[in-house]
Each structure stands twice: as structure tokens, then as C-alpha cells.
Amino acid sequence: MSAAPVRFGVVVFPGSNCDADAYHAVSTFPGTSVQYLWHKDTDLKGVQAVILPGGFSYGDYLRCGAIARFSPIMQAVIDFAASGGLVMGICNGFQTLVEAGLLPGGLIRNTGLKFVCRYVNLRVETTDTPFTSACAAGEVLRIVVKHNEGNYTVDPETLSRMQAADQIVLRYADAAGKQAAGANPNGALDDIAGVCNEARNVFGMMPHPENSVEAHLAGGADGRQLFQSIIDTVLRPAEVTS
């Protein structure tokens, strides 16, 4: 089938530094196209999925993502999300989605009080999202985290609502997929590494799947399934909007 390419957009804030990696990661998938979306623009240029990349938007001198959420492009992203568009926030992108109110909770300083860059194991908690549909339930993905403020937190009522609505998408676990001491790199509540909104079309995660798309690199290739899920979803639009 020679369908039209799946169109991705990667937002570039000043201080984004994983924008090129996200762009590169998408371009390793055949049948995709990808373009940058400048933070001062207000037009998403017809893309079918938006990635808010990692980095230090505006230096993150204030709370991470707190300034980026006011960028002109964010109103377009919010409108896009409201109409069911697929939005994925990675690391600083996750923080920005939380600041923008598109995802519940908050991301605070790591309990170790230091930036941490290491491989983590992520247990896929639900495959019922456009971002994990290509994974197997309970599957363990080995992906790198790198952040200073990745400690996910949320109030108890919201957490129960999120659990009931199956919004916890990824949890830190050991290599066998069990929640374990030492597996959580930042102290995140309930080992939460990634969450989605109630409508399931907005997803944020602290680890960096865009650095895990090529098996011969140190990052491995376990991040591919997340991007593949998005591609599959776009190619089967009926299932998302239902």
C-alpha cells in the first residue's frame, strides 16, 4: 500500500535540545514525513501527530516548561489536542504538557537532587493508547532517562481517577517487569513514568524513546514501538476517534 506519509511535527522552543533527535527518530520509519514547528508560529502545518521534545525550554530557569506553555505555538497544540489530535511530550515536553494543563499532575525535582542519566526499564501498563498499541501488555522497554525534574506527583483523588481510567501508561520496573526498589530513578509517585489524558490522545513520558530507535547505538531500539503505535493509529483513524 503506498499511502500518503504519516505527517509528524516536532515543536522547537528556544532551549529544546532533543528536537533534532525526535526528528531523526521519526525519519527512521518508512512512510513518515516530519517537520519542525517553530514556537513563535501558530500553525501546525497540517501534521497528524505533534511531538514536544526534550531539552531546557527557556533554560528552565523557572519551573520546567512554565514559560514554554505560553509560546504562541502552544495554543495551536491545545486546540489540536482538543480536537483529538495526537500529542506526545517527551521529558521537557511532558513537563510542558503538564504546565499547559493537558495532562494531570506535576514533575518535581528528583529525590536524589541530581540530574540523572541512566537506562531504566519501563513496564507497559496499558496498550489501549495510540502511543502503546504496538506493545504487548506488561512488556518491558529499556530506554534512557535524563532529567533533573522527573519526579511525577499528583494528588490522591486525581491518581485514583487516573488509575480507574487506565491513564497510567508506563511505570519504572526492574528488568523482569516488577516494581522494585532501585528501579525508579527519580522518586516518582507509584513509579509513574508516563501518563495520558482521559481522551487518551495526549501522552507524556520522562524517558527518551527518540534515543532508542537504532539497535546498533548505545540506546538500543526499544523506543520504536511507541512511534510505531502512533503511525499505526494514524493509518487507522477510525479506532481513535470512536
Binding site: 532551549g15 535540545n17 533554560g59 537506562y119 535524563k146 528488568a175 547505538l217 548505545a218
Partner: protein, 763 residues
Amino acid sequence: MSRRATLEAAVKLGLTADEYAHICAIQGGEPTYVELAIYSLMWSEHCSYKHSRPVLGRFPTIGPRILQGPGENAGIIDVGDGWAVAMKVESHNHPSAVEPFQGAATGVGGIVRDIFTMGARPCVSMDSLRFGELTEPRQRFLLDGVIGGIAHYGNCLGIPTIGGEIYFEPSYEGNCLVNAMSAGMIRTDGIVRAIASGVGNHVVLIGSKTGRDGIGGASVLASQEFDETLEEKRPSVQVGDPFTEKKLIEACLELIHRKLVVSMQDLGAAGLTSSSSEMSSKGFVGLDIHADRVPLREADMEPWEIMISESQERMLAIVTAEQIADVREVCERWDLDCTVIGAVTDSKMLRIWWHGERVANIPARRLADESPVIRTPSVKPGYIVDEPVAVNDAAYPRPADLGAALTQLLAAPNIASKRWAWEQYDYIVQANTMQIPGSDAAVLRIKDTERGIAFSNDCNGRHCYLDPYRGAKAAVAEAARNLACAGALPVAVTDCLNFGNPEKGEIYWQFEQAVEGIAQACEALDTPVVSGNVSFYNESFGQAIYPTPIIGMLGVYDDVSVHIDDAFKDEGDVIVLLGAQAGWMDGSEYQKVAYGKVEGRVPDVDLQLEVELQNKLRAAIEARLLRSAHDCAEGGLAVALAECCIAGGSTGGAQFADPEAPRSGRHGRWLGADVDLGSAAAVAGAAGRPDLALFGEAPTRVVVSVAPELLGPLDEVLGGLPHRVLGRVTGANLRCTMEGKELFTVPVGELHSAYESLPQRLA
């Protein structure tokens, strides 16, 4: 403008009476204060290399791959397929000793600017650090601040910091070393040099506003020893803003790639003064700088302050009148200040203007390139001895438990895993990292090619102290050997030469000896020196650091997929030792840790053998014969074997005995080894002691592992190179015997606990 430029004022700025007289002769009488301030910076040791220049000429600097040698912001090496690498290392020792976080952060910022100034996109950082012993609280504070500063700045820029090296010795207690290396990728036809040209072209200042931070950093901080006024020097340390630098990188690379600038230079030590005088001197043109047009943080700054401020994140560009509008558009898009502050002239003079009045008028060439040269008569220090120590049982009692001695060494801060540090660095951003920190070298692929590059940095300061010639030569050999262990071909060197006060004959002797050692090794290994930095005055209260010539080396791959690491891979693989030198006590980590001594004479590298070993090792890796390779460095053969075990693990392992495996990206369980060292006389030298065979140090030795069926082909590749089979990769223990007699058996889990114990020393 009432400040007088008297001799007294000159001395206060760090100039000597002779230099002041020389300045008066050039200027035709008493200079203006602005002129004096400019001379004091440009003729400081830090900017002028006045003590080192006559000696550095000894380095080999040219070769078929070298596109740019010393004298520019960075050296540039052709790595194939139209790609080149720009690389440089630079010290930020004194700022880091005064304020570790900002000192280290701005050290990273400065070296990264040197790379993108030339048009290269920075792709890797590595840092060589030296501190006093961790038993001292201040040293732990310095270490924590320096690592945090490197992480803060480098991570924000999105440049992977793929390791480096850290050592702890009492000699660095009052004067830590922070040497930041950076490298970037550039197309061979896209190189920009810092040469002003085109009379009438604009001189444009891009980036941060100018403040009073870092006034006199190069003269007050970098070119003097430390004493009890250390704390007072804090205002001379700049504060970094990596967010602005990140925007500068993107804006400047766009300007360069779109050919919107004639040339570019970053503002580093001595700020506007050095950048403007160097650009005009190299271009044989003059520059007019209107200091009153420089955007300021503090409105009441005087012209001399503006000219020597070391405010960070600023670039100077030469731009034609036709292109200035485009340049403004790019800078505006990135929310960066872009101000025309002057023009290129045909006067060959650096002229500084202040509201229409000329406040300085200096011949650019004499300022930048004709500073005085000083060669201190060198004196061989009294502590140097010509003979190795006699390892007798009285001075060096035999250890009762060799296994315990091994775990003690693995836990020594100089050997123990530096994971605590490098896990604070983003080592994977940019999606090129093939080998993460913790092995012998950093390895990166070059996108859209089969090629790759590798980096290593090395220097054993203790060895350089005992014999600066042999120690420095060994540092070059080891840096190359580390690259060869990963399968890369070493092609170029950048060096950071850290020494004490060069006005002292003993220090100058150390410096001359080290340069000679580096030069000889670089000639033998065919690795020209393409860039570098000299850092003198690393003394506090008259005590000099160990001479520490840090060697940063670039290696290349035609096919990066051949690269290997140090980890044992599978049970049953055969362990082979390449090289046959017996272990030496002199200058070893074992001597320091077990006996509390630093004495003797370190072994000399046989460069011919070194080249043969590295060539054959690389040939074996390129033929895909080896599973792993690891250099024997601090701690000798036993520590090298232990490191291969700890790093190892079969991908088929069912259990995860190795708690670091998931977070280091390694799979599986630990692997052990069962090795026999052979005859005592051959491996332990004249003393014949098993502990020397295990922990003694010697250059030109590498531990490799090979699948049993490939041992024959490996033998063929190695030919006449001394090598012997030590044993096999096995289950969960490291067991060592000598001529069949057991020396020790230690579970790898215990070795691991010792090796990963650094965080406990920092608590």
C-alpha cells in the same frame, strides 16, 4: 578618565617593569589606562603563552589529515566522506577552585564556543578533573560543584558528555584541575577562521550583554598562584547562562552555514580585547571599536572595563554591509542582541573609541603576537631519582591476602567506578553515542555514513611527577591504546598542559621534559598536536600540583560497527594478554594505596612495541576476532581483569545478578574469569612477587577475550607480538593462580561492591 597608566598601575595589573617599559616604547610614551589594561590582559601568561611558546614548537603539528593546526580556536582533522572534526581542550582550573559550579560550567561554555566559532556543531564533551583526597570535606564540595556545573551547562546545551577522567591526589588539594574538552562535526568546505578582513565591514557583537563579571579573569586568576586571598577572587569568576549559549550555537551555525559572516571569534579570556586584537592581527587589518555602543548590564561601566570584561556567551563577527540585515534577522529570531560596535579599517591599529574620543590606539600585531617571550633556565628537581625502587620485604611487606588487596584497590577513588559523576551527564543526546562512559573510549557514529569517531583522555600525574618525560610519553601512548582497544585508529591530539609556576626552574624543567615526551610519542604514533592550552601557576601557598599534561585524542573508524568494549561476553571465551612487560611498583596505585608511598622511577614506553601492539590489536578488531579489549592501567593486570568481569555479562543470562546491568545498558549476569599468570620471574620482574604480577603497572599491555575457535586466527594476526593465553571467562568468580598455585578467588559480586563504592566516600 582620570586613571593614570603609571608603572605602579601596571604592576597592579600584573605587568612587570620590563613589560611596562616595552609598552611605553611601543606607544611612544605613557599609554592611556585603557591601553594599559588591554596590554595587561594580552600579555598575561594565559593569553600570550609567554613562557610556553618557545617550548611548544617541539610538537609535531602537521599531517595529511590535519586541516587546521594550533593557532585557531580549535584544531580540525579530516575524518573522511567530507566530514571533519574540530577539537580542543582548555583549562578552567582557577575559576573552579574559587567557585566550582560556575567555574566548571563556564569552562564547558568556553570550550564549546571555540568549537562552533569555526562552524562545527559540538558533538561530544569530555572532562579531565583532578582534586585532593576525598577524605577532605572541601574536596568533596569541589567535586560535587564541578560535576554539577559540567552537567548543568553541557546537558542544557544538548551536547553529550561521554565521560572523561577523575583522579584524586594530595597535590591538587589547593588547586583542582578542570580541563574541558569539546569536539564538533564540520564539513571540510565549511570551516570559518577568526580572521578579520574587508575594510569597511561591520564588527558585530552577538549574544549576552556585557557586565562587570570576570574582570581580569585571565590575569588575576589564571596567571597567578593561589594564596590566602582565594576567597577575594570570587568576583573574577564569570556566571554562565547555557540557555543563551544554546541559542548562540543555533544562531551562529545558521549564520555560518548561510555564509552571512566573513569571520567569527568567540569572546573568551580577556573578552573583547583578545577577540578584536587577534582578529585584526591575523587579518593584517585594523579594527575600530566603539566601546560606548556595547550593550551593558551596568550603565556606569568604564571603557577599560568593557574592553576586558569576561561576560560569557558573546561572539564577535565580521559582517558585510549587504548582509547585516540578514544577520539581524537571524539573531532576532533567536532573541539575541546583535549590535554593530565598530568597523574594519586599513590602519592595522586596534582603536577604541568612547563617545567620539579615542581612548586607545595600539598596533594590533604587536599586541597579539609580539608579547615578550620568557624562557626560564630549567633545573632538574632534587626529588627525581634515576633508579626504580628496590621492592624488598622490609620496605614493602607482602600482603597477607591478595584478594583483599584487589578489592581495596578497586575501592580506591582513582580506580573505583565514576558512575556517580557520569550519570549526571547526558551522554546519549544527539543520537550518535555507540559507547557510553565507563569503558576505555567514547565512540560515536557519523550519521549517514559507516564511519565513526572515538575519543579518549589520559594522564597519570603521579607518573609525570616521578618522571615528566616518561609520564607524558606514557599518557600519549595510553590515550592511543585506549582508542585501539575500542578498535579506532588514533589520528590527532589536543593537550592541556597543567603545571606550577613557570618562573621556577624546577617547574620549567618538568614542562620541558613533558613536552619532549609528548612530542616523541606523537611522532611515533603519528598523532599531531592540533590544538591545546597551557595552564601555569597551578600552585597554592608555593606548592605545585603534579605536572599534569592531559592528552585528549581523536580516533577514527572507516567502519564503526567493528567497535568493541571492555566487557567479557561469554563463558568459555579465551583471555589473552597482549604485551609482556613485568609490573612495576614505581608510581603505581598499589604503591600509593597499600604502602602510602609515591617513589621510584616509572617505566619507559617502548614506542616501537607500542605501535606494533596497537596496530595488531586494531587489525584483530577490524577482522572481528575479539569479544573485548581492555587496557591495563592503574591497578595493573588484576584490576583490568576485574573490570572486564564487572562490566561483563552474557546476553543469554536468565538472572540479573548485576544490579547495575539494567541502568548501564548491560544485559545479564556477571562473568568471572579463571586465569594463570605464568611464571613469577616473567610477570613480576626481579622481585618475583605475585603481588607485583597482579597489581604492578607497566605500559603496552592489553587484556583481550576471544571465542575459542578464533584463537588460531588471532595468533596469526598477532605474529611475533609478545602475548600469552591467561585463561578462560567463567562463572561468578575471579580466580587467579600463578604456575598453578592459587593466589585468590573472589566472587565478582564482591569486586563489584568495591568498584561501585565511590558514593559512600561522598556521603
